[in-house]
């Protein structure tokens, strides 16, 4: 490639760089000064676009990085920590697992179907560009109340979008979590996680290397998709222009499937040195990040990029977010071999630039240099902010309210009524309406799919091992107490994984918050991350990567702070896989951990009293660690028939769930959950005290002995019965009901609400 160096010049037709234009690009005067200092001159329009993308929150983490740096990232088995497309851990026998979670909240709020679909597409690419074959997907969703037609439309579209994309590409969607609260009314959250498998020696990183190596763009053509709205400020928004610029990207899972197969083949072939997904800010961020990681210069000629439409400017080509594209650095002289692999998969590849020795990031349009930045500082020089953090008085006051002072409703005289309310709360109710639309079995390795256990289990073919996977975050806790909520998100995910027999190994996180420039939001962010860090250290689960999504708010307020945890656990022996529902009549039911008088922040208060108040249950991280160890020891000893942790809805809901593995629940339970030191019957039934797991067993002594050895309180609370009936004694109260009406409430709640959803017509 000819690299005749000329001075950077504005293109004819470029708008003049005015303070307004700078502001429309989201740069503060301070940031603009910094840019002038970096360049030593005024930027061109193209350069302004590049910097606005790279210094955006999404790409630069400018408000979050200092806080994120406090998270633990290391363990002997971590092969790749944060900073790459995905984290990677070793699972032994030469196998490694790559995984990452990412948000697509804002696009999904505008166009739920395509927004969610392209979110899945993006996270898949992050994983297979590490050299790993995607083997499982998870999704974490937050919506407003399903009583609202718009929310039903959003959920229908999001679920269909996730399903259609994952189903088509042939990666099973095996688990997830979903919660409903009016706090998400205007801002749904759509987080998708992908898990991939590879041989350790197949790991490849997105690091541009080797002066003279060609840079290729591979996959779909570049269109005007998703280009930053601000950039069009200089043109008037005639109807013609409006049509030119779709604000949403359309996903094409078929092309992605070809890209997946071709990428893995390319990586194995040895003809390439690096590969990276073109995600947010497309060509710009992928090329700048690759250059920065490799500490080399790059030159790119935008005229070589295959485009979908005529007359695209360098600015548009650089910032387009068209989907299903990759940037590849090939080995010099191997271009033809690389191209042959791509041709086999009907994919287009074009050499658009090369790695150069000179430390610059240069974009040319034929002979003309349209953008040039010195060194790799473009990415690293981004300003960092340490915003003010102050807790909101409103939340302090909510937390201080005493839940026990909330008067009972008359109907609560019968605890069956309350239990039915909770089981039909969409946050607790069975999620089959969602996961039935996901192919959870393709690849024939899903040992435990959605709904059957606290986490999904995916076997590692050719070994005796399996992965346990789950996403989690009770954001009501995080709202009322971000530090505690952050800890619990990790602890609950670990518990879920351990309940299936998996040792918690590492997490990826997706931090969904409001506007960080608001002190109360930044307080939530900082405290939640600190809480997660504490829990990760205590449980020995480092953070290998993640994603930050800020500004999830509208004029009515921010979403609940939602630091979603994606946990990966390792099941050493496939025989240890444990499910949540009761298995055998006559088994004893043991409660591991202790109940408390805590009732604050509960689903009970929210569902029955419409209140989000009270102290969040406290979590003892040392106890959580011992609980996980005890559970794993008991499972390995073969004495555990089922395990299910108590979470939203407390012990009563957890017991009901253990009885309702499927619709025609046949096994019941008779238990007494009273505890000497707990005075509130409500807390006994519905309280969400942490660190508790319900285990069923035929070997009571076996389980109790192991619990004792780990310093975990354990008590036999009752029996699994052959009668399809649930009887719970809690202090002065007795709940006694046949299971059938509970099953109706639990299984029909979401379908009944969604029946009213407008049908997606595509």
């Amino acid at each position: 490639m000819s690299t005749t160096i000329s001075a950077v010049q504005p293109r004819p037709g470029d708008p003049a760089i005015t303070p307004e234009l700078v502001a429309e690009h989201g740069l503060t005067p301070f940031e603009y000064e910094k840019l002038l200092g970096l360049l030593g001159r005024e930027p061109t329009f193209t350069e302004l676009g590049i910097v606005s993308a790279l210094w955006s929150e999404h790409c630069s983490y400018k408000h979050s990085r200092p806080v994120l740096k406090t998270l633990p990232t290391e363990a002997p088995y971590v092969l790749q920590g944060p900073g790459e497309n995905a984290g990677v851990i070793s699972v032994g026998d030469g196998w490694a697992v790559a995984f990452k979670i990412e948000s697509h909240n804002h696009p999904s709020a505008v166009e739920p179907y395509q927004g969610a679909a392209t979110g899945v597409g993006g996270i898949l690419r992050d994983v297979f560009t590490m050299g790993a074959r995607p083997i499982a997907m998870l999704n974490s969703l937050r919506f407003g109340s399903l009583d609202t037609p718009r929310v039903r439309w959003l959920m229908a579209g999001v679920v269909k979008g996730i399903g259609d994309y994952g189903n088509c590409i042939g990666v099973p969607t095996v688990a997830g979590d979903v919660m409903f609260d009016p706090a998400y009314e205007g801002n749904p959250l759509v987080n998708a996680m992908c898990v991939g498998l590879m041989r350790e020696d197949e790991l490849i990183t997105a690091k541009a290397e080797g002066v003279g190596n060609p840079i290729l763009v591979v996959g779909a053509r570049t269109g005007r998709d998703g280009i930053h709205g601000a950039s069009f400020a200089s043109e008037d928004l005639s109807e013609e222009n409006e049509a030119k610029r779709p604000r949403v990207q359309v996903g094409d899972p078929f092309t992605e499937k070809l890209l997946l197969e071709a990428s893995l083949e390319l990586i194995r072939s040895g003809h390439i040195v690096a590969i990276q997904d073109m995600g947010a800010a497309g060509l710009t961020s992928s090329s700048a990040e690759m250059a920065e990681r490799g500490d080399v210069g790059v030159v790119i000629d935008v005229t070589k990029v295959p485009v979908r439409e005529e007359g695209m400017t360098p600015y548009e080509i650089l910032l387009s977010e068209s989907q299903e594209r990759m940037l590849v650095v090939a080995r010099r002289g191997h271009e033809e071999q690389a191209a042959a692999i791509l041709r086999k998969w009907d994919l287009q590849a074009e050499v658009i630039g090369e790695v150069i020795a000179e430390p610059v990031y240069r974009v040319v349009e034929g002979d003309r240099v349209v953008a040039e930045f010195p060194g790799s500082r473009l990415v690293t020089e981004c300003p960092q902010y340490f915003p003010e953090a102050r807790e909101s008085d409103v939340i302090v006051a909510l937390r201080a309210r005493d839940p026990h002072a909330v008067a009972e409703r008359d109907e609560e005289a019968d605890p069956v009524w309350t239990l039915t309310q909770l089981l039909s709360s969409p946050t607790i109710a069975n999620k089959r309406w969602i996961y039935r639309q996901y192919d959870s079995q393709v690849r024939t390795s899903t040992v435990v799919g959605p709904g059957a256990a606290d986490a999904a289990v995916v076997r590692l073919r050719g070994t005796n091992k399996a992965l346990a996977l789950k996403t989690d975050c009770n954001s009501r806790y995080v709202y009322l107490d971000p530090r505690m909520g952050g800890r619990i998100a990790v602890a609950e995910a670990a518990r879920n994984v351990a309940c299936t027999g998996g040792r918690p190994m590492a997490i990826t996180n997706c931090l969904n918050f409001g506007n960080p420039k608001k002190p109360d939001v930044f307080f939530q962010f900082r405290e939640a991350v600190f809480g997660m860090g504490e829990a990760c250290r205590a449980l020995g689960t480092p953070v290998t990567g993640g994603n930050v999504s800020l500004y999830n708010e509208n004029p009515l307020g921010a979403v609940f702070p939602t630091p979603t945890v994606g946990m990966v656990g390792l099941i050493e022996n496939i025989d240890h896989v444990t499910r949540s529902s009761f298995r055998t009549a006559g088994d004893s039911i043991i409660l591991l951990g202790e109940s408390t008088d805590e009732l604050g922040a509960s689903e009970y208060l929210s569902r029955v009293h419409n209140l989000t108040i009270g102290a969040v249950p406290s979590v003892d991280l040392d106890h959580e660690k011992r609980l996980v160890d005890a559970l794993l020891a008991a499972i390995a000893a073969g004495v555990v028939h089922s395990a299910h942790d108590t979470s939203e809805g407390g012990v009563a809901v957890a017991l009901a769930e253990c009885c309702m593995g499927d619709r025609d629940a046949t096994l019941g339970a008779t238990v007494d959950v009273s505890e000497a030191l707990v005075s509130s019957d409500r807390a006994l039934l519905w309280g969400e005290a942490q660190g508790r797991v319900l285990v069923s067993t035929a070997d009571v002594e076996g389980v109790l002995g192991i619990a004792r050895a780990h310093g975990i309180a354990a008590r036999t609370i009752g029996l699994v019965t052959a009668e399809s009936r649930l009887v719970i004694r809690a202090g002065a109260r007795t709940l006694d009901t046949p299971l059938a009406p509970l099953a109706d409430a639990y299984f029909d709640a979401i379908p009944a609400l969604m029946q009213r959803a407008a049908m997606a017509t595509t």
């Binding site: 505008v110 166009e111 179907y113 395509q114 779909a220 269109g223 005007r224 998709d225 049509a243 030119k244 610029r245 779709p246 604000r247 949403v248 990207q249 359309v250 996903g251 094409d252 078929f254 092309t255 979908r308 439409e309 068209s322 989907q323 009907d346 407008a758 017509t761 595509t762």
Partner: protein
Amino acid sequence: MSRFRVSVHIVPRKGLLDPQGKAVSDALHALGFADVEDTRIGRYIVLDVKAESAAAAELSVKAMCDKLLANPVTEDYRIASTVTA
């Protein structure tokens, strides 16, 4: 009130990727239809509506398109014909 048959064309918005159209174009080429230069795939909806007049029927169908039938973010629609049914 009379009965009108209103038909609507709904097509992916210009500039948006149309993966289906692309796959079909490629397939047509592979089948030897070399002269096909572009294929776009949309939906064709025929509604039978009771209304006072053809104009009223069209107005009502337009409202349906805005509310449900067409996706305002990704699709354009056009009423193709209205006849008494």
